[in-house]
């Protein structure tokens, strides 16, 4: 799009020339593009493509990272895909999607819709800042703080006791059934600010005359939200869902800091498991196989969402 636009803009400066010469120039310019992207492409190749390819290569070997490697073909993949423990780990990642994606996108929509109506002023600035702060805090620091919040005498339990819910208090991260949702909520807290901010900018791009027309037709705020805001935000929602889903499936820092996958294996996720396989157990092959499977999983979940929300006919 940008390119066609530039072409059009430049045409007047270049008086009509023979079509042949133009094509020659064009192809030269085509290669000239490559010169500009070459540095980035080299970096991309070295830091993204090469590791990707080596991971695939490692995943076919039994290797401890130092000694000799033995070719095992697809055995590493077979192990990951048939071991119920490993499969439950993948299941946890999908459970986290509820907390990393569904909750923040829903709450983000509500928050954005509410804040949209507010006049520009200190309140909306403060609200936006408060919501966005978790994005700025390093996840490791957040993990440590939440560790305290969830401890036996932490704020979470103090608040629950204060409102008369002393019966449900527990050391959240030590509880087998509560640990995964508890860790997931940390993710919701982190992702909410990002989603709200993205959606808020999206709302501001929607043509105000649409709202005006709806109001003249007698629509209330809920109807406005469903019929104007939601469809208008389709692309932004797509971005939110994509980014947060990748964060859920590839989550590492929060879990590593707060629970290390425990208690038992109740919060173990692929990211931590890959790290553990590679650096604690020194099973580079199996870790690589798990990493490749994780990448495929991310692609399989993300691509349909992209197709659905980024269609150009919208």
């Amino acid at each position: 799009m940008t390119l066609t636009h530039q072409e059009a803009g430049r045409t007047p400066e270049r008086p009509a020339s023979a079509p042949r010469a133009r094509r020659g120039r064009r192809s030269r310019r085509r290669w000239a593009h490559l010169v500009y992207v070459a540095p980035a492409l080299l970096m991309y190749g070295f830091f993204v493509l090469k590791p990707l390819v080596t991971s695939v290569q490692y995943s076919l070997y039994d290797w401890n990272g130092i000694g000799p490697a033995t070719w095992v073909g697809l055995d590493n993949y077979r192990r990951v895909l048939t071991d119920p423990d490993q499969l439950s780990i993948v299941g946890h990642a999908f459970e986290l999607i509820i907390f990393f994606t569904a909750v923040p996108v829903f709450l983000g929509l509500v928050a954005a819709a509410l804040m949209h109506g507010l006049p520009q002023g200190s309140f909306s600035t403060v609200a936006r800042t408060v919501l966005f702060i978790p994005q700025v805090i390093p996840l490791v620091a957040a993990g440590i703080v939440w560790d305290w919040v969830y401890s036996s005498d932490g704020i979470a339990n103090q608040l629950l006791s204060a409102v008369g819910l002393g019966g449900v208090t527990r050391p959240w991260l030590a509880d087998f059934s509560a640990a995964l949702p508890a860790v997931g909520l940390i993710g919701s807290w982190v992702m909410l600010g990002l989603c709200t901010l993205l959606l808020l900018t999206g709302i501001n791009k929607i043509d105000p005359s649409l709202y005006e027309a709806a109001r003249i037709d007698g629509a209330n705020r809920f109807r406005e939200f469903v019929h104007i805001t939601l469809p208008g935000l389709r692309r932004e929602i797509g971005v939110c869902v994509t980014v947060t889903m990748i964060a859920a499936l590839a989550s590492f820092d929060i879990i590593y800091i707060s629970t290390q996958g425990g208690p038992g294996r109740s919060t173990m996720v692929p990211g931590v498991e890959i790290y553990r396989l590679a650096f604690t157990q020194r099973e580079i092959g199996q870790a690589s196989a798990m990493a490749v499977i994780l990448m495929v999983l991310v692609l399989v979940t993300i691509v349909p969402i992209q197709r659905l929300t980024q269609r150009s006919d919208a």
């Binding site: 290569q57 490692y58 290797w63 130092i66 560790d147 030590a174």
Partner: protein, 449 residues
């Protein structure tokens, strides 16, 4: 627009494919099998050089003992200086193999699990120094854990590490709570230990303060296991002897006691998320009658609790039985690629035999200094906790048995076997039989692969 974007996309694809082909065409990753690190035996010197030498050390953050020793060594031998790099324990153990494999490997590394690295040829075989310095004067049990044989099993074979401080574990107890529940003497049998726990619970006190966020329940678990089973079987399992198993009646009995303690509320309700630092902090503040831990905490607890804390070895099943404790040297290895093996071996020998060095080890770590059995153990104030832990270590050395930690059996057993199984056990989710079997399954899957 479409025409301009296509070639670059094709170019990208081509690049990726070329890269893939180029890389997969390469040989398998890792070293050739032919690389060996054996050096000619006997080709070592026990004379310290008079040239200026700088030794590179790679140590664990938070344990400054080797740094203290290095300062004293430089004081005595000014031509030897030290360059020290430190990392947190996890980072250190994860980086160590790659650091040792690199061309500028340090001369000494703190390394807790040595079997894999020894098999990979990363560690210097210390046998020539053992001969040259006469380390056969050390009690054999002191060095056993640091031997690795040709099959990669520990417990026998060549010497690949030495300890800086030889630790022993047991039970710390809060003397104020003990007085409150009428416990005048440390328990001498497991039954008495459990009676004291019950009395503490009845008095509204926390019977046990134990961390288990990363599997610290292994301390009481192995303390029990050591009493119920033949310690040699436990050692065989840790040393990866062929056919060794932890799926035994003794281990089930140990796990049953542990589950029973959890069921009766002897552990804190957040035991599965309680970390080591908080455990020690809460115990030092007076919460908890017992804490299963090692002598490395004694100097620290001496400072924070004074005379309100005591230490005893895990009691035996029957009164007067042979005491068994788990303990391990804080192991240090010399990489095969170390630039100054003679000088670092001299340093290691020095810290086991020099009077001042031994005093530093005892004062700073609370652990026994090891070394030849004929040398006296450095003096510490008789009222101190360290005096009690040293006495316990001496008891084990003279008339007891020392086993390594079950957590040291394989590199992944602690995180992937012991931690999840014992956490589930304390939560009452699995039976003692399943917990023990789960640990054994993880052990076999790791050794099998």
């Amino acid at each position: 627009m479409i025409t301009t974007s296509r070639p670059s996309r094709r170019f990208l694809a081509a690049l990726a494919v070329t890269a893939t082909v180029a890389l997969t065409a390469c040989s398998a990753p890792g070293a050739d099998e032919s690389t060996t690190s054996d050096q000619a035996a006997g080709d070592v010197s026990t004379e310290l050089t008079d040239k200026d030498v700088t030794l590179n050390l790679y140590l664990e953050t938070g344990f400054p003992i080797v740094e203290e020793l290095s300062k004293e060594f430089t004081r005595q031998n000014p031509n030897i200086t030290f360059k020290i790099r430190s990392d947190q324990f996890a980072a250190l153990t994860e980086n160590a193999p790659r650091v040792m494999a690199s061309d500028d490997a340090p001369d000494l590394i703190r390394l807790p699990t040595i079997a894999d690295s020894a098999s990979d040829g990363l560690l210097l075989n210390l046998d020539p120094y053992y001969e040259a310095y006469g380390w056969d004067q050390f009690p054999a049990s002191q060095l056993e854990q640091m031997r690795v044989d040709d099959e990669g099993s520990r417990g026998s074979g060549s010497l690949y590490a030495l300890g800086v401080g030889y630790s022993v574990t047991g039970v710390y107890y809060n003397k104020e709570i003990a007085a409150e529940i009428g416990m005048d003497e440390p328990p001498t049998t497991i039954d008495e230990l459990e009676d004291d726990m019950a009395a503490a619970k009845a008095a509204g006190e926390q019977p046990i303060m134990q961390f288990n966020d990363i599997g610290g329940a292994a301390f009481p678990f192995q303390a029990l296991l050591n009493q119920y089973s033949d310690p040699a079987d436990v050692s065989d399992w840790i040393f990866q002897k062929p056919g060794a198993t932890i799926d035994t009646d003794a281990a089930v009995e140990a796990a049953t006691h542990l589950a029973d303690w959890a069921d009766k509320g002897y552990f804190t309700d957040d035991v599965n998320s309680l970390d080591y630092t908080n455990m020690v902090g809460r115990f030092a503040k007076g919460e908890g009658l017992f804490m299963f831990d090692g002598d490395w905490e004694s100097a620290n607890l001496d400072k924070s609790m004074g005379d309100k804390v005591g230490f005893f070895l895990m009691p035996t099943e029957e009164e007067g039985g042979e005491p068994v404790a788990m303990g391990a040297p804080n192991t240090y290895v010399v990489p095969a690629k170390a630039a100054h093996p003679d000088e670092i071996a001299y340093f290691l020998n020095w810290l086991h035999t020099d009077e001042k060095a031994r005093q530093i080890i005892v004062d700073d770590s609370g652990a026994a200094p090891g070394g030849p059995a004929s040398l006296p153990v450095p003096e510490v104030p008789e009222t101190s906790l360290t005096h009690q832990t040293l006495a316990a270590a001496a008891t084990i050395g003279e008339s007891g048995v020392l086993t390594d930690f079950v957590a040291n059996a394989t590199s992944g057993i602690y995180a992937d076997g012991i931690r999840p199984e014992l956490q589930s056990l304390l939560d009452g989710r699995i039976s003692p039989e399943d917990a023990v079997k789960g640990i054994q399954d993880e052990y076999e899957s790791e050794l099998g692969s």
